[in-house]
């Protein structure tokens, strides 16, 4: 399987209910967390499994490809 392209996650904060489910299901190493107890929002994720988007009860997580290093 080709390696997935890294992504950056965005959280629609208006809908987020701070439930922590995205962090609970995330297979990343320790510390992939935002100051608001969601998955990290400004760090590229190289696993890109997207289970955080699936678990979110209000579907408020989206992603874009991470900018390529210059």
């Amino acid at each position: 399987m080709p390696k997935k392209e890294p992504v950056i996650f965005f959280i629609g904060w208006n809908a987020c209910i701070n439930c922590g489910a995205c962090v609970a299901v995330c297979p990343q190493k320790a510390g992939f967390i935002s100051p608001f107890d969601t998955i990290a929002v400004n760090t590229p994720c190289d696993i890109a499994c997207m289970v955080c988007e699936d678990i979110c009860p209000v579907s408020t997580i989206t992603h874009e490809p991470a900018p390529k290093p210059a």
């Binding site: 209910i17 701070n18 439930c19 922590g20 299901v25 320790a30 209000v58």
Partner: protein, 391 residues
């Protein structure tokens, strides 16, 4: 930098952490309990149902401070609304009810007040408690202790402890620090959403609604919440449905056999979270470290209930650590394995059995049959004759 020394440092002051710290302090240990929140239990990620037995078992007096409403039994429904009512006011009228010398079966608690009360109990037992204190990491020292890195109001602090207790809930990072296999699969984590509502009548029962149509992979619930309020919620397994929990909750409220009952409901609060319908962690300890509560996945895999198991797990952990440290036993991985053995014996082996039952149900391909199995299991689980009724 500070070099304060503790017997144990507990990260997370939920039911598991506060109980571990309190029990350990009651038995003479020097304990530090930290939580990153400014107000425990908030934002609420729990419905708050807990049995009276679970509280009494760990020395918590049921108190108005945290009780929303008393519970006397269960109503279990299948997808179409057929019901099994297990009302202890009728089954054992001399024991359960509101009158003098009678008692409730359990309570719906306010997690904000409940967690605060448990923290206070720990404090009064001699535990040092710091809020706004985030656990950042830990290292094992050659001297046999460990150093725990914390951030307290933006200040980095290191403390030394014989044992670090990870009671940091389902989002646990402490287990990851130690390289334990804490990852939970999407197929085993229910995505939950609940509304606290006005204008929905309840009658002292925890109501559980099964059926793939309403909550694929999980179930829906209606709990009394005091002051005439109720809680309506559900959890779904996202690999079993294309839609999210919010969509399913709207469907349940608008189209289920309860739609007339819910017709005038008004939303007062919105809450959610993940509930593991999974097995306990296979390894809940490492050098100078143990996990307890949701962090160790001490959650009932059929009901998703985790308050009772967090409290009991906390008691077991606190007692185990007090004995280990009093006797001067080195807190190595090998010696801390005894904690998990003790836990399995008292609680965990039954949770493994429940997990196997749960798997049996959800691997059934035929939906009708699966729904019938879940309804049947839930109904017998809460019956007075259930062998699991104390979990």
């Amino acid at each position: 930098m500070s070099t304060s020394q503790y017997d144990i440092v507990v990260i997370g002051s939920g039911p598991a952490g506060a109980t571990t710290a309190r029990v350990a302090a009651e038995q003479g240990l020097r304990a530090l309990l930290v939580d990153k929140r400014q107000e425990l239990g908030a934002p609420v990620q729990c419905s708050g149902a807990v049995s009276r037995h679970a509280l009494e078992e760990v020395g918590i007096q049921p108190a108005d401070e945290f009780i929303h409403e008393a519970i006397y039994g269960f109503g279990i429904y299948d997808q179409d609304g057929s019901e099994t009512i297990i009302d202890y006011r009728q089954l054992k009228p001399d024991e359960y009810g509101q009158g003098a010398n009678k008692k409730p079966l359990g309570y719906v608690v306010d997690r904000r007040r409940f967690d605060r009360c448990l923290m206070t109990m720990a404090e009064r037992a001699g535990v040092e408690v710091w809020l706004k204190t985030e656990g950042l990491g830990y290292v094992v020292n050659s001297s046999g202790s460990c150093t725990v890195q914390l951030r307290h109001f933006n200040k980095e602090i290191s403390v030394e402890a014989k044992v670090l207790v990870g009671a940091d809930g389902l989002q646990s990072q402490v287990g990851k620090w130690a390289g334990l296999h804490t990852h939970i699969k999407l197929t085993e984590l229910a995505s939950c959403l609940q509304f606290v509502v006005d204008q929905v009548e309840t009658d002292g029962l925890l109501e559980i609604i099964t059926g793939h149509e309403w909550a694929p992979g999980g179930y829906a619930w209606v709990f009394p919440k005091g002051y005439g309020y109720a809680e309506i919620g559900l959890g779904v397994i996202r690999t079993m449905t294309k839609e999210n929990a919010q969509w399913h909750l709207d469907q349940f409220i608008q189209h289920s056999f309860f739609k007339t009952r819910f017709k005038n409901s008004r939303i007062l609060e919105i809450q959610g979270g993940g509930v593991p319908l999974a097995a306990p962690l296979r390894t809940q300890y490492s050098d100078n470290l143990i996990l307890v509560g949701d962090a160790a996945r001490h959650v009932n895999p059929i009901t998703g209930g985790g308050i009772h198991t967090a409290l009991s797990g906390g008691r077991i952990a606190g007692q185990f650590l007090a004995k280990l440290i009093r006797e001067g036993v080195a807190p190595t991985k090998e010696n801390l394995a005894g904690y998990q053995e003790q836990w399995l014996e008292e609680l965990g082996n039954k949770m493994w059995q429940l997990y196997k039952e749960k798997c049996q149900i959800f691997k059934t391909k035929n939906l009708k049959r699966r729904d019938a199995m879940l309804y049947q299991t839930m109904s017998s689980y809460f019956s007075p004759h259930s062998e699991y009724k104390k979990i």
